[in-house]
């Protein structure tokens, strides 16, 4: 059990409130991500003050089971801590009421608890039991007291420097993965002392017995750490924009500590360059002598120098790239991509060079440089929970993914069309492993910062292009007169593009919300459309149902809405939300939605083609030119390509649900008996979202029952029909595959689209083979080929459930029913 997550936005607040609410002690302890640095002394003393106060009440205000084993613990009393901290607190002096509380609580019944009425679940869960070492971050252990203070002026061997670098890198990536700074980057004890670590300071500390050059720490390691902190700072600035929803995804709390704001990127890069220079000029020679004196083989010095150099180079490239990315209006994405490529080469090596991956064994751990318990000294109300840092391999892989994701994002500025941008977004979200929080946030920022899409156009313009690409409204639709009206749509339609990035695909909570926004848009759009009819003095088309207006905007909104609906339903498969007993219903519903969508585009194509033909005719009349067939506007063939994809999807869905119906008919698909399950209630709740949308018309449970009974169709006939569906899907995909990326708007995600199509094909083929096996049991595959067309023996289809498996191994959205 954990938090019931629906009040997530309140959570941070509640964590801050924490147990303090009992005391209504509303001091300045707002721990949440204050961008302003605070002097560390104040923060730590404040937190210990808070803890002392909580101590105070928790121990005495409640009766109940208390943790034991407190003997190895030394407790500073409230007063002592105050004195220790040497701080003058404003307000009335504190008074020790421990004894008083002890006395009055004597009267309590067992289990009684005094609390404010507002003390709720969050408070209860974030409360800590004082003096329980697993919860109480304020406890002082014997071992802490005798611990030697960290000495930054200890000389480190090159291997130790490598060890520290790698550990910091692990901390950085663990932070990226969602843990707090206090348990990752901040555990490095050099962090607060970087300014003090100079060659002069080393000289005066006079410890150089081994003649190890102080530069290894004061220049090389320092530059690396500064580079890392600066990178973290740039990442933090991106994340602080708050594009990534769930708080668990990323921790931006800085506990009031600076992240190297006082140094510019170029300053840090200079330091890194200096460090590399020193390594090449001096370090290398020294190291060769040193390694020889240690009886190491000749080459080891070179390997170590290279390992150090690679880490510095990677840091430099990564830092430059992050800095490029942070520039306004995506103006330096191209340069960023170049540097990120370089960073990748440092990481993985290239044909003619080693990468960091091959040098991770060299470093040695220096435990004294890191204090995993550092967060006890920071302002924090949440009890520390032990975390596990990533391994070095995981860290390298995470960075590898991050670099590749960001390189891919940098490529988006090669904008081709609104549709291809939208397709890019969809495939980005589907990437596996799931894109990291930073790249998701970055993609959002790229999509829109200060109302600039990709840094060069407004959201309104993007919407306009998207509408133009879909149904090409007449010119006046987007002139200044109508701008005001249509921009209303623009402001709400970011969803169509951003729906997939706010979360990655493993987060489907976002889309239904956007859908609701869209429903609002739909009615707005219709309204605007009618206004525009008047403004543009549009002549209605004459159709068999009477005059018809075009409704360009509402058509577009409806299209986007259907795209989102489909995505939501399909995502349920990918996220493993549906149980096998639900598959039939979901595919059945998808079949319907995809069909609606297909027809919607169909109507649009017919309308536009009709209009184009009419124009042509008018032209011809006036100019009397030759009578070649009317070319369809490119827009129509784009629509046809979109329809083709919808057809492919719909045919698979239909094929799969028909297969399931067939299996049920022949009793090969047995629905489990689930005690509290009620199909009607289940249908009603699973389709709730669809029902609330207004359009398309929601289907009912009765519809479902009715249309999936097939009273007069045999199981075999259904299987044959399904076979046909898979064949139709295959030919649709083959046609799609023969199109150029520009024709499918897949310019920005060509390989991903190809792979997707390939995977859909696999599902079709797999299912077709299964159907063949069912239709012709006992025939080996070679013979089956020959007999495929003659279905004769009606009663031979006998498979039992244990011979079947439903698999998503080919495609996360489409079931492959494997008949063994």
């Amino acid at each position: 059990m954990t938090f019931d997550d629906d009040n997530k936005c309140d959570r941070e607040l509640n964590e801050v409130k924490t147990s303090l609410s009992i005391l209504s002690l509303s001091t300045t302890t707002t721990a949440s991500s204050s961008p302003l640095p605070q002097p560390p002394t104040t923060s730590s003393s404040l937190s210990s003050l808070v803890r002392s106060v909580v101590d105070f009440v928790d121990d005495s205000g409640i009766k109940g089971s208390k943790p034991e084993e407190k003997k190895d613990v030394i407790r500073a009393t409230f007063d002592e801590r105050m004195r220790e901290d040497g701080i003058q607190y404003i307000g009335p002096p504190f008074k020790d009421i421990t004894k008083f509380l002890d006395e009055v609580t004597e009267e309590f019944e067992l289990g009684q608890l005094v609390h404010l009425e507002s003390f709720g679940l969050y408070d209860a869960m974030s409360s800590i039991e004082i003096m329980d070492p697993k919860m109480d971050s304020g406890m002082v252990f014997e071992s802490d007291i005798n611990k030697k203070a960290f000495d930054p002026f200890v000389l480190l061997t090159p291997k130790a420097v490598l060890g520290v670098m790698d550990r910091i890198f692990i901390c950085e990536m663990t932070w990226h993965s969602g843990h707090s700074l206090s348990q990752t980057l901040y555990t490095c004890l050099y962090l607060d002392l970087l300014d003090n670590i100079t060659l002069d300071a080393f000289a005066s500390s006079d410890k150089n017995e081994d003649s190890i050059p102080a530069e290894l720490v004061a220049i090389v390691l320092k530059a690396y750490i500064l580079g890392t902190v600066k990178c973290c700072h740039l990442v933090w600035e991106e994340m602080y924009k708050g594009h990534v929803y769930e708080e668990e995804d990323f921790a931006t709390n800085r506990y009031g500590k600076p992240l190297c704001e006082d140094k510019s990127v170029s300053e840090v890069i200079n330091l890194i360059d200096m460090a590399k220079q020193w390594l090449d000029d001096v370090g290398k020679t020294w190291l060769q002598d040193y390694e020889q004196s240690c009886d190491a083989d000749q080459s080891s010095a070179d390997v170590i120098v290279q390992a150090l150099n690679l880490r510095l180079s990677l840091r430099k490239s990564f830092l430059i790239a992050l800095n490029n990315i942070s520039q306004p209006r995506c103006s330096q994405y191209a340069s960023a991509a170049k540097h990120l490529q370089r960073a990748l080469v440092c990481l993985n090596g290239s044909n003619d060079g080693t990468g960091i991956r091959e040098t991770i064994e060299i470093g040695i751990d220096v435990e004294s440089v890191f204090d995993p318990m550092i967060n006890r000294k920071l302002v924090s109300q949440t009890p520390p929970r032990p975390i596990k840092l990533l391994s070095i391999e995981e860290s390298l892989n995470d960075l590898d993914n991050l670099l590749k994701e960001v390189i891919s994002i940098c490529g988006v500025i090669e904008y081709k069309s609104a549709s291809s941008l939208q397709n890019y977004f969809a495939y980005f979200a589907a990437r596996r492993p799931a894109p990291c929080a930073f790249s998701r946030s970055l993609l959002q920022s790229t999509l829109c910062t200060d109302d600039r899409v990709l840094g060069f156009m407004s959201m309104h313009q993007l919407v306009k292009e998207s509408v133009l690409e879909l149904n090409n409204p007449p010119y006046p639709y987007f002139t200044s007169k109508t701008e005001l009206i249509t921009s209303g749509i623009g402001s709400g339609s970011r969803g169509g593009f951003g729906s997939s990035t706010g979360g990655n695909n493993s987060d489907n909570t976002n889309i239904p919300h956007l859908l609701r926004v869209f429903v609002g848009n739909a009615s707005k759009a219709e309204h605007i459309d009618s206004e525009l009819h008047t403004i543009t003095k549009e002549e209605p088309m004459n159709t068999k149902d009477g005059p018809s207006f075009s409704f360009y905007l509402s058509t577009w909104v409806y299209h986007q809405k259907l795209v989102m609906l489909e995505e939501t339903l399909f995502l349920g498969f990918e996220l493993e939300l549906y149980g096998p007993h639900e598959y039939m219903m979901i595919y059945w519903y998808l079949d319907y939605i995809l069909g609606v969508h297909n027809r919607h585009l169909e109507r649009m194509a017919v309308y536009i083609a009709g209009k184009a033909a009419k124009n042509k005719k008018d032209n011809r009349k006036s100019r009397r030119r030759q009578s070649r067939p009317t070319p369809a506007p490119p827009i129509v063939s784009q629509l046809i390509n979109k329809q083709l994809l919808l057809t492919a999807k719909q045919e698979i869905c239909r094929g799969v649900y028909r297969m399931i119906v067939a299996l049920r008919k022949s009793n090969d698909w047995v629905s489990p008996n689930l005690e509290y399950d009620n199909e009607n209630i289940r249908f009603w709740n699973r389709t709730k979202m669809l029902r609330n949308l207004g359009s398309p018309t929601a289907l009912t449970y009765a519809d479902f029952k009715e249309t999936t009974r097939f009273p007069d169709v045999s199981s075999r006939e259904l299987l044959s029909a399904a076979l046909h569906n898979f064949e139709t899907c295959r030919s649709a995909i083959e046609r799609l595959n023969s199109l150029k990326p520009t024709e499918t708007h897949m310019e920005l995600c060509g390989p991903e689209f190809k792979e997707d199509m390939q995977n859909m094909l696999r599902v079709c083929i797999g299912n077709s083979i299964s159907i063949q096996k069912m239709l012709h049991p006992g025939i080996s595959s070679s013979k089956r080929e020959a007999k495929a067309s003659s279905i004769q023996d009606q009663n031979s289809s006998t498979i039992t459930k244990k011979d079947m498996a439903i698999e998503f191994k080919y495609h996360p959205w489409y079931a492959y029913i494997n008949v063994k």
């Binding site: 059990m1 289990g111 679940l121 297909n598 063939s637 509290y676 009607n680 449970y701």
Partner: protein, 203 residues
């Protein structure tokens, strides 16, 4: 020790604070991090009627509690929502349907109090709990990305106790769906038409 048998087990509702330490010990065994005692009190003091225990009659006083379920029931948006906060069965007593029995007691209690739905969260990797709940009819309502501190995704499971009912006019809609299907088949642009468009476009 002989393996425990089902008829050793009795099910009782929670009745006293004295049972709390036993409950806590049982639950803490399966947790990577402990809940504070306030968390237990929050649920148990507010909804003592939704906490049930399985006791082994033959055990000594101190480890008599071999299974427990802790829940709450309150308003959540427009629903009256039951929430299963904790469920645990002692290792040696698992796979005897004790967990299932406890969950059923809780469901029945919450249903009798008019719950609209019952929810809970469990890790994606907790095969035992997932199949226990799904066997009872719980659905996966949401995937919670990296929900737990160990970075594992979780599922929000939900049992709907209400909905559906009598849908008037459904038949006509069914007909309309069929109609739409027919229209679809009919309307679909023929391959011929499509190639025409293509060729036209090229010249």
């Amino acid at each position: 020790m002989a393996p425990p048998s089902p008829d050793q087990i009795v099910y009782v509702p929670y009745s006293s604070e004295l049972q709390l330490p036993g409950i806590m010990t049982l639950i803490e065994k399966d947790l990577s991090e402990p809940y504070s005692i306030y968390t237990y009190r929050y649920f148990i003091n507010n909804w003592p009627n939704l906490c049930f225990m399985a006791l082994d009659k033959t055990s000594s006083e101190s480890d008599v509690c071999v299974g427990v379920i802790i829940c709450k029931l309150d308003r959540h948006r427009d629903a009256y929502r039951g929430y299963i906060a904790m469920l645990a069965v002692k290792k040696e007593y698992r796979k005897m349907k004790i967990g299932t029995s406890l969950v059923k007691m809780a469901i029945n209690a919450m249903k009798s109090l008019n719950a609209d739905e019952i929810v809970l969260e469990t890790e994606r990797t907790n095969v035992g709990a997932l199949s226990l709940y799904q066997n009872l009819g719980f659905l996966r309502d949401k995937r919670l990305y990296r929900y737990y501190l160990n970075g594992v995704d979780a599922f929000r499971l939900k049992l709907f106790c209400r909905g559906g009912g009598n849908e008037a006019g459904a038949g006509s809609k069914a007909a309309s769906k069929e109609l739409e299907d027919k229209m679809y088949e009919h309307n679909r642009m023929s391959d011929e038409q499509e190639t025409n468009y293509k060729e036209e476009q090229q010249d």
